[in-house]
């Protein structure tokens, strides 16, 4: 095939791409966007499949069998998480107008410029070799097609650059990318044309690969069965159809899969297409199954083509990476070969275009702009509109990236298979993973930690993976790989710390990510966050909170002169766009900006967010800070504001507590009410009882007096008896009235009682003395036991005497008629005076223990009937004892006698002898 045909076809294809992009943008302008579609989005994600997939997979399959598949299994495994992780990243990025993965990390960790630089450098270092293999793939396919010779794929790389097709391919791609991707400044405006073109390329490469696959399986062979059974007959081919021969053990396989899983989020081009160019976060829902389906279809024919190639080219002169081209060519299918080349070309161009755009955005926003801002060359007062100049910077950077890729290809890359270089790139961008996951889910992760972790990981990655390739290519001395750094055996790039059994990629990925994560976590925990880091962390981790409540993203109180803000927006966004944005702001906020001397915090934030969309978060921060006066807000205040949610939770909890308290109070009130009702009932009972008690003796007095009045002739002895009864009944009434009066007096007059230090033994003795006569009459055996020492209590002598009398007379009442026995015991126990009175009467059943101290309780016995007395004695005693700060209780069982105990506190100070009142 002549070179002219190939070149013309390629140019025609690029023209077609332009038309697709143009068409998409026209449709968008008409409001009928074709890109605003979940399936187009999912197809554009297939930019993941590059020339590496298109040519390299077959090459890899021809040497290691299944060993190509992990690159796709990783993304497939992680695709269910698109809806969770990718969606969250998109939400955050849309809110903050994030422009790249480096911008994302820098923005999360306090809009740190340094962090942006580090992340950018990692991304560039990792991506350049990857871009270079695209150049290699395109160059090889060009050679093969034009020379019609399968062995032409072994590029020697000896030609001078002006005769080298790869050089011109790099230049052509640079021009194409510049024309394509740098028309606007704000990448968040999205390039609908670009996305449409990428989706279109995804279809082309899929169709081309399926075409060659079907041709090989059904054209060159008779279906899968024929192909594989022929393959199985050759030992070298049968060998690669097993897992063993893939050269992977469990550990390598796992790590390779993990790396490709990370790559699908972290690679600059993936981030650009999946996040920056995304039009709707909900598209992730369709992408989660369409993307793995795409990968499935494009991988079905990889192994068959590899086996077919091995069956055809048995002499080993043909590079397996080019089997997809060689097989149609050798069968004379030139048109198919051209289609395949176009498929490879589309895979490569898609990757190169998006990668270089993403890298140029990163480099200009995170590396070049901060330098320019420092030099003041673009912040001076004479500069009017910088958008053109910034676009110029991006164009130069695109060219630079592609030239770097070409240089890498010429010096190192041509000696390596496509896949090995791709995997090294994967391990490189994986260094951004710990900081990114921390950004999404770990608020304590901070700037210093992220920086330390990324630098550590990057250094180890560089030492373990790219460095040996440089050494092998002769750029660096070879002995580092063989003897270790500085001749230290522990520092061999392929056997760090003596772990040499792993495959290089798994080895490098493991050590770099291990230390990356470890350093990130430890340093984050040991260092403090700045105020801005705290707000950004909250915004990133809790993006759903901000989404639903439309809270202010930036809580800082800032103010700037309106003039300054307007100048900045005009300068960096262009006059037209600035005017449009300000009109939008006025409409949304309802504030008229004309004539306002100062811009409030809201407008400052608005301006910063939009500047960030054009310049990156870190640069926008620097620019805004140059004109803004910030009201210092302390970390504590900031935390307080962020704690709003916790505040609400606390408030809710306080409310709950309050209502619980209310419930408790209600319960208490109810209890008090019940008590009052009970008291009321008691009082009524009391009155009923008292009147009843009064009526009984009164009735007998009345009737006896009437008999005496009516029968004046009553015999003398009977009259005497009646009069005696009248007298004793009157006495009973008097006693009853006295006791009732006593009881009511107790409460009302206790205030005027005079408490004195008195000797309790003396009181007890004198009280008992008055009752001894009565006990003698009843033949009661009485014992009084008093302590040897003095027992002083603070009390009212008369009242305490009353208590002793009450208790002892109570005992007398219940003593049996014969062999009655009463014991009075006074002792000191635990700094308290205890007076107990024991009898051997009928006793009190436990259920009545609490009853006996109630007023008018008279325990009746079926045998003995109602005992004498009013039933007020114990109630009065209880009242008195309690007024003295003491307690009274009963210990008894039915039939075993009763023991009543009074406990009184002993007076705290020891009185002198003469102070003790003698009774």
């Amino acid at each position: 095939m002549s070179a002219t045909v190939v070149i013309l076809t390629s140019i025609a294809y690029l023209g077609l791409l332009f038309w697709v992009a143009y068409f998409a943008e026209r449709q968008e302008a008409k409001g009928r966007s074709i890109v605003n579609n979940p399936y187009i989005y999912a197809l554009s994600l297939a930019v993941f499949c590059t020339a590496w997939t298109f040519f390299g997979s077959v090459g890899r399959a021809a040497t290691t069998g299944i060993g190509f598949l992990h690159v796709y299994l990783g993304p497939v495994a992680v695709s269910p998480l698109f809806v969770i992780i990718l969606r969250k990243i998109i939400l955050i990025s849309k809110s903050l107008r994030i422009t790249s993965i480096a911008d994302f990390i820098s923005s999360r960790y306090g809009k740190s410029a340094a962090l942006g630089v580090i992340a950018t450098l990692i991304a560039v270092f990792a991506a350049i070799p990857y871009i270079s293999i695209q150049l290699k793939a395109v160059a090889i396919s060009f050679e093969i097609l034009t020379q019609n010779d399968p062995t032409a794929g072994n590029l020697s790389g000896q030609a001078p650059f002006y005769l080298d097709s790869a050089f011109f391919i790099a230049l052509a791609l640079a021009v194409f990318t510049i024309l394509f991707g740098t028309r606007h400044l704000d990448p968040n405006e999205r390039h609908e044309g670009l996305v449409a073109a990428i989706a279109f390329e995804s279809i082309i490469k899929l169709v081309a690969f399926l075409a060659v696959g079907i041709f090989v399986v059904y054209g060159a062979f008779n279906g899968f069965g024929d192909l594989f059974s022929k393959g199985m007959k050759q030992p070298e081919i049968a060998r690669i159809l097993t897992l063993e021969e893939s050269g992977f053990d469990a550990w390598d396989w796992f790590w390779s899969m993990l790396l490709s899983m990370f790559a699908v989020f972290m690679l600059p081009r993936q981030f650009h297409i999946a996040v920056v160019e995304n039009t709707n976060p909900d598209f992730t829902k369709q992408a989660a199954w369409v993307f793995p389906l795409y990968l499935l279809i494009i991988n079905i024919f990889v192994l068959p083509v590899a086996v077919g190639g091995l069956l055809h080219f048995t002499d080993g002169n043909v590079d397996p990476d080019t089997f997809v081209l060689d097989l149609p060519l050798i069968h004379g299918e030139n048109l198919l070969a051209l289609l395949v080349a176009l498929g490879g070309f589309s895979a490569a161009t898609g990757m190169v275009i998006v990668s270089t755009i993403a890298l140029s955005i990163m480099l200009s926003n995170n590396l070049v702009l901060p330098l320019l801002l420092k030099s003041k060359s673009i912040t001076g007062p004479n500069v009017k509109d910088l958008t053109k100049r910034l676009l110029g910077v991006r164009r130069v950077l695109i060219l630079l990236v592609l030239l770097l890729a070409y240089v890498y290809f010429e010096s190192v890359g041509s000696g390596y298979a496509l896949v090995s270089i791709g995997l090294i790139s994967f391990a490189g961008v994986a260094q951004l993973v710990p900081a990114t996951i921390g950004a999404l889910y770990w608020k304590q992760g901070n700037r210093v930690g992220a920086m330390a972790g990324m630098l550590t990981g990057f250094a180890i990655w560089f030492f373990c993976l790219p460095l040996p390739t440089l050494a092998e290519a002769g750029v660096l001395p070879q002995h580092i790989t063989e003897d270790g750094l500085f001749g230290i055996a522990m520092l061999k790039p392929y056997a760090l710390f003596g772990f040499g059994e792993m495959a290089p990629v798994a080895h490098g990925a493991f050590w770099s990510l291990f230390f990356n994560t470890l350093v990130f976590v430890i340093v984050s925990l040991k260092t403090r966050q700045s105020t801005l880091e705290v707000t950004q962390a909250d915004l990133f981790v809790d993006i759903h909170k901000y989404q639903s409540s439309s809270s202010e993203f930036d809580l800082r109180r800032r103010e700037a002169k309106m003039h300054d803000i307007l100048t900045l927006m005009n300068r960096f966004l262009g006059k037209e766009r600035a005017a449009v944005l300000l009109k939008k702001y006025e409409k949304a906020s309802g504030i008229s900006l004309a004539g306002e001397p100062f811009a409030a915090a809201g407008l400052v934030n608005y301006a910063e967010t939009h500047l960030a969309g054009a310049l990156g978060a870190a640069s926008a921060k620097v620019i805004i800070n140059s004109v803004v006066k910030e009201d210092p807000i302390s970390l504590e205040e900031m935390l307080e504001i962020l704690d709003q949610t916790q505040e609400a939770i606390r408030y809710g909890r306080a409310l709950e507590e309050k209502s619980a308290e209310l419930e408790r109070t209600t319960l208490q009130l109810q209890q008090a009410n019940d008590q009052l009702k009970e008291l009321d009932r008691l009082k009524e009972n009391f009155i009923t009882t008292v009147t009843h008690e009064l009526r009984t003796p009164l009735t007998s007095i009345k009737s006896l007096s009437k008999i005496l009045q009516d029968n004046t002739d009553l015999p003398e002895p009977q009259r005497e008896e009646f009069l005696g009864i009248v007298v004793s009944e009157s006495e009973r009434i008097t006693r009853l009235i006295n006791e009732v009066l006593d009881l009511s007096k107790l409460r009302s007059q206790s205030n005027s009682w005079e408490f004195k230090n008195i000797s309790l033994p003396l009181v007890t003795r004198s009280a008992c003395a008055g009752l001894q006569q009565l006990m003698k009459e009843k033949n009661i055996d009485f014992t009084l036991q008093l302590p040897d020492h003095e027992l002083i209590v603070n009390g009212v002598p008369d009242q305490l005497t009353q208590v002793v009398v009450n208790l002892v007379s109570n005992a007398i009442k219940f003593c049996p008629a014969e062999n009655g026995k009463i014991e009075v015991l006074l002792k000191k126990e635990n700094e308290q005076a205890i007076l107990s009175v024991r009898d051997n009467g009928i006793g009190i059943a436990p259920k009545d223990h609490s009853l006996i101290f109630q007023k008018f309780t008279q325990l009746s016995d079926s045998k003995t009937g109602k005992p004498q007395g009013s039933g007020l004695g114990l109630a009065i005693s209880k009242e008195i004892v309690e007024l003295h700060g003491g307690k009274i209780r009963v210990e008894s069982e039915q039939g075993k006698g009763a023991k009543l105990c009074v406990t009184l506190p002993i007076s705290s100070f020891a009185p002198s002898r003469n102070e003790i009142l003698k009774i």
Binding site: L73, V83, L241, A250, L303
Partner: protein, 69 residues
């Protein structure tokens, strides 16, 4: 009737994480080792057939989970 069930966002997330874990397990050792005998299954190398069948199953699982409401 699984389609009738209401799938809360938390439930859906848990199920998606479950599919993710399942994918990691099925695509890795030791499960893949079962098929490394090197024989043909329906005319296709066994290990190959294993990967593609589980792959299709996963896509169906993801699709079903995201369709449910």
């Amino acid at each position: 009737m699984p389609n009738r069930q209401h799938l809360t966002p938390a439930n859906r997330s848990a199920r998606l994480f479950g599919i993710f874990a399942l994918a990691l397990l099925t695509f890795n050792y030791p499960l893949v080792q079962v098929f490394e005998k090197g024989n043909l299954l329906l005319g296709i190398p066994a290990i190959y057939a294993y990967f593609f069948i589980t792959w299709i199953a996963l896509i169906i699982l993801i699709f079903k989970t995201l369709q449910e409401r």
